[in-house]
Symmetry: C2
Subunit: 584 residues, 2 copies
């Protein structure tokens, strides 16, 4: 049987286990062929080839259900469920997303791109099954790295209450995105060392049945084990020991790099997209490393994504105990930062915009209510950031700036970013969030103030009249561009860098009413709950007109930057036209 | 020694343990005296009297630190740290808040009112201690009920990385607010049964040292145990078995009722604030119970607060497996609801506004992105709700309504609430949040539509001209009141019930521009990121003036309703005056 013969899991059923096993090599080849050209999650999928084959051989989808945590190990599932060509035909590579997606197949139950959600979501399916008196099997595939997220713990804790078949496969490849951190990983190691026999067992201590599979890349073992548990009438954890990157030597050797990789050389693994340009993350990391060296009380925290912060293994080694990876546990990261600040340390927590969503209450209660002077560095908080529906960096302005006490800064270029970072790390009065600008690094060569303690003091880049353009963060240059274009129309527009997303410069806003009739806000995020609306509310009772630019509230998926900007009229010609229409 | 002689923990140091033990009775008496008049957390504090005495006897505050999870067991700590009179002098009862509060004492490290945060926050202190090369002891007191929250798990998982002394006291009184739910509680029971000797041990499986104390209300035992661990150089869990409500028979007997109680008879425990009025929660519970009876696929979910939903023991028994308490685990609750909806069930998750903050990402990713038709019932989402800084119900409009796909309904009275609830529970297209109005139950006798599938269609209560008043949820009657007062000024104002907090009725808003010059929004929450700002943004480029009412972004604490309304001009005379000023 060739890959082209597999149109659905049913096609696997007639095969012997040996025949099924023969598919592993072509599946890996196809994966590597695509990923080496296209990029994607390499290691997690290579390690889960046999596991996925076994699941589809033993279970009956779509009647039975499989929920893949964070979807990082779902590519082979996609290949076996009617989407093979998206992995074998380069022209169709983008026919599928990188995540499970109900729009693609009835075997995908949920859109999932954040970790640690699978047990809870599948637990809901199991609850519905019970209430409806139905009878089907439910499996969850969750990596060891995802276990450290609070939602996964909550899900496992509740799982013991689930009635009927519920197979929680812990795909233990001994890695998170980078190495694992957390006390539970000692227990997983103990369980591996004792062939699952250790009596101190995390999963059993959560009330769950448990079984260990030492050879998780051996298909015969997997099929046998799944056959044995597939009709159990209660939840069980199947702890499966697999090898991340299995079958591709470079990915086996450098498991962190090949967790997710851009295009690479199919033979050597060498990256084909070497990026020598600097970035805001790179500048930030360099600054923080130096600061840590100079001040032993500085702590840089990540929740399992050191690479996002540009803290690769080398920098981590240099930072020593001052670099803290709490595992995928954003709630812990924010609360820890608050505690460190309260204890007199200087914490910086760097986090992807979309993942900060997992710590809203910690931002509010643990950090802001306690006014702890920690710094939250927000990465990919931009329309010009990640474009998957599960990773949109659009929502953090509404998330952060509407929490009392939070000071949310939006630098507009490298120089201002560094000035704000330096101020934030050296002040001890406010919880500060700092939004790394989107897009390529912009160096303006301009000088910026070093003190931002005069909260909500906007900076006037150019004082004109009639029209004021407030360009926040990434979009300040766009505001400047619009001002330039308006000159040709005889309008000398004021250009303002608000710097603060979390408050209004009311003296300045009042002053503008004297010789302006229109204020335009341009922000790099969703309009709803965002920055511009605060300006609109402030001017609401006055004669000042306000036009807000940002993106519409939606879960867009895999959009092109230019289309998204155009659709939301976030281009200079569109904004100029709108302005002329309003003030005409 | 009498209670009046205790001004700080230092006053305890000279006592023998027997003398210290003599304080337990007067401390309990004072607690009961205050709580029977004033209300508060009864059971948790009565159970922790000896534990708190022992902690302050063995540790040296404020040099050493204690962090109390959720503060429900912090009253005795307050009594021993300079705040005795707030418990012995009725005139001073309100000199202290119900939560630890750094403004009151240097022995209170954090404002804490949400559960499950203590280990993480204290872990931050320990990290700072290490980085600064300091040397002091850190203890955490966390109840067994709080363990089920994801943040607690994340904190425990990371705790094994903490260097130096770190004493995690699990105060196991075998109760959450109501009974515990979750697999870990089987393990706690096993540990109690085996005097802590069972080899399957949740805490050890998280990499932590562990010790069990069977007699957690015996001061000699506690002091001895704390003396033995107080200078350990690594984290340890001290699992202490205590009796909730200890020393007050009614609280020992009905531990759920006396977790938190209003005023009660000091002798019998009988409630002195019997409330026979109905409430939105009561109506909702009654509806849901009937619906569950009629339809076995309906599931009502709580995250450890069945009482908030008016699902006491009797209703829970009637609901059977259709009432699901996931423990204090809001992330699990939202994800579970999404999974149940996806599996064809009809889930309703009832949650306190402030606690929903713990599940922002689950609302976004697990629920809304997947468009699962679950219903989130939001309780105390109102300025007229809880007034503690840790429990403000002001932020949920910004939280929920800015997430794509979420439909957020704000009923204005009992009749409309029931109509919306009925629609939400019987539709299968949208994730719906429903905001129970604040204040007393309002029954208008009016009829309301039964279908809300025409999203964002506002309801015009009265069509006038010049001024339009959009009164959302709780504040619709205020809008009517303002309209009434405006009549006297010769203004026939339009009154609109927006019904939807999550979107705009743009045809109606456009139509208003024909014969209105001012639109006023009145909402029951913080202005920033809220409903009114969306209206202000929409009208920004037009001649329409907009004035938004709501509360200012701040962490107010223990405010009076009337002061808060007045300070934010949320009274009819103030609004009328503002309107006249604007349109004059």
């Amino acid at each position: 049987m060739t890959l082209q013969d597999i149109h659905s899991p049913a096609d696997l059923k007639a095969l012997s286990v040996d025949q099924l096993n023969d598919l592993a090599t072509p599946l890996r080849d196809a994966l590597l062929q695509k990923l080496s050209r296209h990029g994607g999650h390499v290691g997690p999928n290579l390690g889960a080839v046999e596991l996925t084959l076994a699941l589809h051989y033993v279970l009956d989808l779509p009647t039975d259900k499989i929920v893949y945590d964070v979807s990082h190990q779902s590519y082979v599932h996609k290949m076996l469920t009617g989407r093979m060509e998206a992995f074998t035909d380069p022209a169709k590579y983008d026919d599928v997303t990188g995540y499970t997606n109900p729009a693609e197949s009835p075997t995908d139950l949920f859109n999932i791109g954040h970790t640690s959600t699978s047990v809870s979501l599948a637990g809901g399916l199991a609850t519905a099954r019970e209430l409806r008196g139905e009878d089907y099997r439910i499996a969850v595939v969750i990596g060891d790295g995802s276990l450290s997220g609070g939602e996964a713990f909550e899900g496992l804790d509740h799982a013991s209450a689930i009635k009927g078949n519920f197979i929680i496969i812990v795909n233990d490849n001994q890695m998170s995105i980078a190495e694992n951190h957390g006390g539970i990983y000692e227990n997983l190691a103990l369980l591996r060392q004792t062939d699952g026999q250790a009596t101190c067992n995390l999963f059993k201590s959560m009330g769950l049945d448990y079984r260990y599979i030492a050879y998780g890349n051996d298909l015969h073992t997997l099929v046998k084990a799944l056959e044995e548990v597939k009709d159990l009438d209660h939840p069980i954890v199947l702890h499966v020991n697999t090898q991340k990157g299995k079958g591709f030597a470079p990915a086996e050797a450098d498991r962190e790099h090949f967790h997710f990789s851009g295009p690479f050389d199919r033979n050597t693994g060498a990256s084909l997209s070497v990026n020598t340009e600097s970035s805001y993350a790179e500048l930030t990391a360099s600054y923080l490393l130096k600061m840590m060296h100079d001040d032993p009380t500085v702590a840089v925290i990540t929740a399992g994504t050191p690479g996002v912060l540009e803290f690769g293994p080398e920098r981590r080694a240099q930072a020593g105990r001052q670099f803290i990876d709490v595992g995928i546990a954003e709630q812990e990261a924010v609360a820890l930062a608050s505690g460190i600040a309260k204890g007199g340390g200087k914490p910086y927590f760097g986090v992807v915009s979309s993942f900060l969503q997992r710590a809203y209450d910690q931002l509010s209660q643990d950090l802001a209510l306690n006014n702890s002077p920690a710094v939250i560095g927000i990465y990919y908080g931009s329309i010009l950031g990640m474009t998957d529906a599960t990773h949109l960096g659009w929502f953090d302005i509404a998330l952060v700036s509407n929490i009392p006490n939070m000071v949310y800064l939006a630098p507009t270029c490298a120089e201002e970013h560094m000035a704000m970072l330096d101020w934030a790390m050296n002040q001890d009065r406010y919880p500060v969030a700092l939004r790394l600008p989107g897009g390529k690094l912009l160096s303006t060569g301009r000088k910026y103030p070093t003190d931002y303690s005069d909260l909500n003091a906007y900076m006037v880049g150019h004082r004109g009249s009639q029209v004021a353009l407030i360009g926040a963060g990434t979009f300040y240059p766009l505001a400047e561009q619009v001002a330039q274009a308006l000159k040709a129309e005889g309008i000398d527009a004021t250009v303002i860098n608000p710097r603060f997303l979390s408050g209004l410069d009311t003296p300045l806003l009042d002053e503008l009413t004297e010789d302006h009739t229109l204020v335009v806000t341009i922000e790099d995020g969703v309009l709803d709950g965002g920055f511009g609306e605060k300006i609109a509310r402030y001017y609401g009772p006055t004669d000042m007109k306000v036009r807000c630019y940002g993106v519409k509230k939606e879960f867009a998926d895999r959009y092109s930057y230019s289309d998204m900007l155009e659709a939301n009229r976030l281009t200079s010609p569109q904004i100029v036209k709108d302005i002329l229409d309003i003030i005409k």
